[in-house]
């Protein structure tokens, strides 16, 4: 059975290593039942079956490569980096190493309100392939694609109805409904022009948050 643990290197006694507290990190680990499994150092390389959440806002001395080095997907030993600024996490595509690119308060809120996501993530870790999509909203690629097509149409681009993939409009409509609820009908390309503002408003919640 996969265990969960976490590492928060925040140091209080070294002025040059001050890192602000990572909001909602302890709440997230409480959701996983791992609030008391806070590591003080690297776990043993012999241990297996654990998923470790690492605070990636490193002070001097934070050794990201050491944490990356303990990851081993074959032994179900996973490392997931978290940060107060998720967009800054810089990890290469290495098996067993992940970046949770969502603000933790939002993740905690989402997983608290949808416990099935937490269970799904745990199952995916047990199966050896952590499903990071559990931490965020469903994919809205069709809605985004529809929006871009709508912008082009509104600016005079000619698009043959038959040029658009058949599934684009129905899927975009379904994604809209998953975000906003009913209230939009995308049955033909021209609907993208006339309902462009509604689509745009639906995409607002996908924003990372804060001002640009």
């Amino acid at each position: 059975m996969v265990k969960y643990c976490w590492f928060d290197h925040r140091v209080h006694d070294k002025p040059n290593c001050l890192v602000p507290e990572l909001e909602a990190f302890s709440s997230l680990m409480t959701l996983f039942g791992a609030a008391d499994r806070k590591l003080t150092s690297l776990p043993s390389a012999c241990d297996s079956n654990y998923t470790c959440f690492i605070h990636a806002d490193g002070p001097n001395g934070f050794r990201q490569k050491d944490w990356v080095g303990i990851a081993d997907a074959t032994k179900r030993r996973f490392v997931i980096f978290v940060s107060s600024h998720p967009e800054t996490i810089n990890v290469s595509t290495i098996p067993g190493v992940y970046a949770l690119r969502k603000p933790l308060p939002r993740v905690v809120k989402l997983m608290s309100s949808e416990p099935a996501r937490l269970e799904q993530f745990k199952r995916s870790c047990e199966s050896g392939n952590p499903d990071m999509s559990c931490f965020g909203h469903p994919d809205h690629e069709h809605l985004i694609a529809a929006y871009l097509v709508g912008v082009a149409l509104s600016r005079g681009t000619t698009i043959d109805d038959t040029a658009l993939p058949v599934e684009l409009l129905p899927n975009a409509q379904a994604e809209y409904h998953s975000l906003i609820g009913a209230g939009i009908s995308l049955s033909k390309p021209d609907d993208l022009k006339t309902q462009l503002n509604l689509i745009r408003q639906a995409l607002v919640p996908l924003r990372q948050g804060g001002t640009c």
């Binding site: 040059n16 001097n60 600024h85 082009a152 600016r155 040029a163 995409l203 924003r207 640009c212």
Partner: protein
């Protein structure tokens, strides 16, 4: 301005790293007294990377026009992959033009360049003092030069903060 979070927006990742990981977590959180303490104590190896960070900021300035453009989504968005390339090209052009109308990329890039040049200059002057032998080092001189670095870091941080955090949707 509507901004779409996207893991494929490398410009936004670089923006965040420079603003947060570098300037906020390594520069702006240090007083002149701390810098003197570091110099007189165990040292501060990461300081030598700061000029490389300024190069990263200049590279980001060059990327602004296309780095945050929704034109990238036309290539990355799977549902649009089935469109004829000619049509995708047309969509790319239109959405890119719309993006340039809602985000002044030239001004943003210029602001990054100017503040980065100032920052780099301040850092080089600091390093001149830092690299002196211990008996030639002046604490007051070091503090003064670090204050100049801090004065340069804030406008650069603000310029980075003004950049989008992801792809801009017009």
């Amino acid at each position: 301005m509507l901004v779409l979070e996207s893991e494929s927006c490398l410009a936004a990742i670089r923006r965040g790293q420079l603003k947060h990981s570098w300037l906020e977590n390594q520069v702006l959180n240090k007083t002149p007294d701390i810098v003197v303490m570091l110099r007189r104590g165990n040292g501060w190896p990461v300081l030598q990377r700061f000029t490389a960070d300024t190069e990263q900021a200049l590279a980001l300035a060059d990327e602004i026009e296309f780095g945050f453009s929704p034109a990238r989504l036309v290539s990355d968005c799977a549902p649009l992959a089935a469109l004829p390339e000619e049509l995708r090209h047309a969509i790319r052009e239109v959405v890119h033009t719309a993006y340039l109308e809602c985000f002044d990329t030239e001004n943003a890039a210029q602001r990054i360049r100017e503040t980065t040049v100032t920052m780099k200059s301040a850092l080089l002057k600091l390093l001149d003092e830092w690299d002196k032998p211990d008996d030639a080092l002046s604490d007051a001189g070091l503090q003064s030069r670090w204050r100049a670095v801090l004065d340069a870091a804030e406008p650069l941080r603000d310029a980075l903060d003004a950049l989008p955090k992801g792809i801009v949707l017009p």
